[in-house]
Subunit: 207 residues, 8 copies
Amino acid sequence: MKTMQESTIVFAGDSIMDADKMNTYDRLGNGFIRLVNDGLKAFRPWEAYSVVNAGISGNTSADLLGRWEKDVSSQKPDIVFCMIGTNDVWRHHDYINPPSRWLTLEDYENNLSAICEKSENIKKFYFMTPYYLEENRADRMRAEMDAYGDAMRKVAQRFNRPVLDVQARFDEYMKHRPGQSINWDRVHPQGIGSMIIARIVLETICV
Amino acid sequence: MKTMQESTIVFAGDSIMDADKMNTYDRLGNGFIRLVNDGLKAFRPWEAYSVVNAGISGNTSADLLGRWEKDVSSQKPDIVFCMIGTNDVWRHHDYINPPSRWLTLEDYENNLSAICEKSENIKKFYFMTPYYLEENRADRMRAEMDAYGDAMRKVAQRFNRPVLDVQARFDEYMKHRPGQSINWDRVHPQGIGSMIIARIVLETICV
Amino acid sequence: MKTMQESTIVFAGDSIMDADKMNTYDRLGNGFIRLVNDGLKAFRPWEAYSVVNAGISGNTSADLLGRWEKDVSSQKPDIVFCMIGTNDVWRHHDYINPPSRWLTLEDYENNLSAICEKSENIKKFYFMTPYYLEENRADRMRAEMDAYGDAMRKVAQRFNRPVLDVQARFDEYMKHRPGQSINWDRVHPQGIGSMIIARIVLETICV
Amino acid sequence: MKTMQESTIVFAGDSIMDADKMNTYDRLGNGFIRLVNDGLKAFRPWEAYSVVNAGISGNTSADLLGRWEKDVSSQKPDIVFCMIGTNDVWRHHDYINPPSRWLTLEDYENNLSAICEKSENIKKFYFMTPYYLEENRADRMRAEMDAYGDAMRKVAQRFNRPVLDVQARFDEYMKHRPGQSINWDRVHPQGIGSMIIARIVLETICV
Amino acid sequence: MKTMQESTIVFAGDSIMDADKMNTYDRLGNGFIRLVNDGLKAFRPWEAYSVVNAGISGNTSADLLGRWEKDVSSQKPDIVFCMIGTNDVWRHHDYINPPSRWLTLEDYENNLSAICEKSENIKKFYFMTPYYLEENRADRMRAEMDAYGDAMRKVAQRFNRPVLDVQARFDEYMKHRPGQSINWDRVHPQGIGSMIIARIVLETICV
Amino acid sequence: MKTMQESTIVFAGDSIMDADKMNTYDRLGNGFIRLVNDGLKAFRPWEAYSVVNAGISGNTSADLLGRWEKDVSSQKPDIVFCMIGTNDVWRHHDYINPPSRWLTLEDYENNLSAICEKSENIKKFYFMTPYYLEENRADRMRAEMDAYGDAMRKVAQRFNRPVLDVQARFDEYMKHRPGQSINWDRVHPQGIGSMIIARIVLETICV
Amino acid sequence: MKTMQESTIVFAGDSIMDADKMNTYDRLGNGFIRLVNDGLKAFRPWEAYSVVNAGISGNTSADLLGRWEKDVSSQKPDIVFCMIGTNDVWRHHDYINPPSRWLTLEDYENNLSAICEKSENIKKFYFMTPYYLEENRADRMRAEMDAYGDAMRKVAQRFNRPVLDVQARFDEYMKHRPGQSINWDRVHPQGIGSMIIARIVLETICV
Amino acid sequence: MKTMQESTIVFAGDSIMDADKMNTYDRLGNGFIRLVNDGLKAFRPWEAYSVVNAGISGNTSADLLGRWEKDVSSQKPDIVFCMIGTNDVWRHHDYINPPSRWLTLEDYENNLSAICEKSENIKKFYFMTPYYLEENRADRMRAEMDAYGDAMRKVAQRFNRPVLDVQARFDEYMKHRPGQSINWDRVHPQGIGSMIIARIVLETICV
């Protein structure tokens, strides 16, 4: 039997990763994670990756922290991609919960720090910035999302972890077409956005 | 048998009116038109209104003009409420069609004028402005929606028809909560927005 | 983050409130409670209400009393609306159970009293009369329903709680159209009746 | 092969006969007509009846007259049972249509007469009175239903056809239990009422 | 509230009683038990019967005995109708199980005796003979069914309980039409057979 | 490409052949015809048979004759197996139609003759006897089925066509187990009977 | 009651046996085991076999060994047919799992030996070779499958158990048609292959 | 409104393109064409491609030729990708049709030539070779597929059209993993193969 390099990659996050995974036979979902998995197998068939989708729809940084051991550490991952924060911000704008139950920017930073502490023995750990598909940086939700991205960068620096700037890539796209051309809600990446995110991930893994 | 004042009210427009009407037993849909119908019956039981939902999801001003005789005039309405234009604008931002197939502001004005000409013998005819649930008037899609609202006002003035300023009512709301608190896509009014629109219509009918 | 006045409103009752709530994503049902919730958010966006539908189809006053702690008190409500009794009466007329299992008027009064005792520390507590959509007060079921409404008023007075007279509002309506124009069963309020009840509640909250 | 007396019996009417017939394999529905059919086969196996359910939900006397040739005469029936009128009356009380579209008592009489004229060569033709499951004869809908029953008797006498008094049988029942114990809408006969109607029909056929 | 005579009637048996009861809202099934229930309510509205369907498809006398306390005694019935044995016999002819697992006539007698012993304090207890819709008494399955009917009579006599001869009634029917005209399997009574059985039961209760 | 002997085999008959064919991807059904098709392909892979299921549930000899050109001749078959008559007989015993619409033994003979005339240029044409899974030859339906088998043999002899005696094979089986062990209705062959019929056909084709 | 020879036959294996058994009323599945069961009952009605399908889709030799007591021994079988190994080999070619989790040929031999040890008191125990529907023996997956067949023969010889050479029978078939004519995946036997395997089993049981 | 370069790309072929397109809202299917479409929009947002999936499952070169005008020419495409032939070959190996209905290599060449003639005014036309996911070139189906690829190249050269060698790319992949790791049937490309094909197409368009 052949010897192959084997690694486990875990994606930790929210609905952008989840992508209806519970209705797919291999629990990979129908989003960018499937593209990453298929791309790795198609273009690097001499390696063996086990890809795990640990995204759950609606999760905030607090939710993700709360299930980190059970869903991420327990997989003994070689590589982790962590993209979280969209729902922390969104809840301030859609008022699904009353304000007294909102998470603050400070909560977000603390949650990311706690995640980093629980991940010290993971060899490769990448943060991915939350993003908003609105080109106008003065827009209230975009401005807040950028502030959360900055907070992520601050935490990452403290723990010496790289950050993949997903928002920047979408800003490139939005020079040509508005965010609504990806999705009317300006958050879920659908086909086009998933291609863009998958490419960022594949470039990171395959350097 | 009682004698009652009987009138037929037709609502002509797009998905904001349609509201999945084909899946409701009385073809009134699940949106603001149902609220208007129930409100009229509940609070003015001494009158008899026949309410017709002539909204079809995805319609532009060109689509609505194309079916005006079949769906509106044929009902011999006493009162018409016409709210259209959202999809004329939206298609410039979500790129569902390539640019060569887009409708222009000039097309919009011409279509509204043609609708007015076909409606001369309708006693009460109200335009309702298209709207976008974005408070920032510099936002590209909001700015364009406002321009379309202005075009509607120009046509209405020429034909001497009143215009109900739906956008203005939502601007009041957005002083307190962002547009996403109504719907993430900032267009479809869901429960909250339907209440706001229904109130405008009921105030207009019941003066 | 904004500071808003936050209150929790619980509606305690039977199918008139329930309105198929378990099949709606937010457990608010499709009846008057949804109208109240949407109306509050649409017209008072500067306040934050949490609305809880604690109605269960088929409940009598005994059933409601039996789950009061679990479903009402546990919510720590600021405001409670309690409308119950329809099924206490109805069972005497549809014979779903044999007579030996019927609840009496005395049972009803005792159950309402017990509910009031469990609710002493709720700031605002409103009873709403059970009603029957039959204009003829000599009708056997209407007469009995009126007697139950009187019993409710008696208990309310003892505990110094206001009573909203829902039956009176429907009597206004029935001056113009028979009760069957709301629903053939003369009980469930459907679209029209829900509008009427929601208006009573909104007038009460928003004074 | 045996020689048996063969007859065709057609039931002409509305939803009380229809009883969801299109969802039953033999188009007999789930109401009193099935009981009649099963009873005839069970207790008079030496005869061969072909039973036809020609009831359609929502039909008024005008609807039934309009399809008489197609659905009744075309069957060349030996026996016809005709029960119609409930919807003529009901529409005056539930306001599904505005008053200008209501049928009057005079329309009803004319429609019944026209039906009789088209049925002259049918050997046995029975009218069955429309009924309302309300014991109080002063109730507005009951009073109107009784007037329609009287009109039916008047027409029947003119054409020398017998009338089966269904209302009278239900009045017997309502000496013991209210109409709601049969059905909350006081019209559709469900299990109990179907038994009562089937018995009337079987007694008529099997004398 | 009225005083009515109230009794509980339990039907204990197999699929002839069960009649898909778990898919009916009141667990009465779609067979003869529903006819009995509706007939009692329709024609004796001054009494109050609680009817319980304790039939389970596929049951033999051993199965029924095994659940007698749980399903029959626990109801504290005033009246019991027990019809069992069809499956004891049928299994000898369809070979669903291999012969070593078959029940014998002796098992049947013992099971019926045990049932009688457990039912001593039930005021009215009726056996109903198992039957086979085959007119030829020399047919192997018919002959065996008759032997089981005789065994039932023997046990009944010992415990001084009446036996309703269902087979005899079907024999009357089969003088005119073959058993297949009721059901191709010659066992399940469908519409026609249910009428015949219900009549036997109603005559017994209503004497 | 290989040269193979190619033949088209058409099976003409009723539900015994049909076997729910419209719900199978290749229209072969789930009965004995599938076994024949699979058996031919499995055990004679050097030949190429096209198997056509031309059975339709409920067909009598008259129905089959009526569609012979459309469904059989049009296939230009090399081999035809024709098994019909079960429903001609069955209708005399289940009374689905009143006696005046029954087919007689004479009708049956005439229909078979007409089928033979239309099939003169088919090289191999086999009749298969209708059968009844009742061992007692004095049973009324069995006796009639045997008479129909005799009529088939008479017609076959006149047209010089072979007859496969399916009833005889089932009689062998019934020396050991009753007909009900194949199917409670004693007609449809299910798994066991389909094996027996398929074997008869395969022995005929593969001699 | 008759005395018949009764035996229990258990089939232990993978999806080739399973054949969607959980969706069939008797848990026999839709594959060769059903053909065996029907064939035994059709052609040897004087004996009584209880056939048990203990195949589970996706099972390797390790999976089967792990549930041997629970699913096979517990049935106290008279006869066992054991066909396993396809998935042991397949996983080396479809890479569903990474190589570190593959089973080796040595694992396979050990698992078969352990199964034999647990089966010593079973009177008749037959191995059936795993097979691959590829005629070219140099094909990598075919070559490996043959090696596993050889390993099975080695173990069988040690425990003195017969081996049925299923691959050989399919090789006969493939002299005339390629493996893809049975199934595109060259493994699951579908209709044609099930016929071939069932024949091998029936010849073995019925000698 | 922006001016963008707009082109229409049509994909003409079989199930490899179809990919269940009729069950996707935009008729693009779930295969490599969706990846191409999303990739073009994601990475070249300054251009506007209209992508048309004209693949139909099961199509041979004859089927495709038969619908060329209706499905391809009618779109007035700027670019066409044509991949066909898999089913021409496959039918020789799975025997779905008898040999007399098979297409030959000569048919294939003629069909491709006719397609080229109908496509002369299409600016960019690319053939894509049919492929088989079997690394062994001596395998009978692989050998035949290679011959068809050669025929395609011959036709392409005659009409001066480029050929994309899809088989060659899969051969690269199969140096590391067997064809079964893409799909057990070695034809449909699933996730991994779709990635590989999409990349070939994107490289061709985006040079």
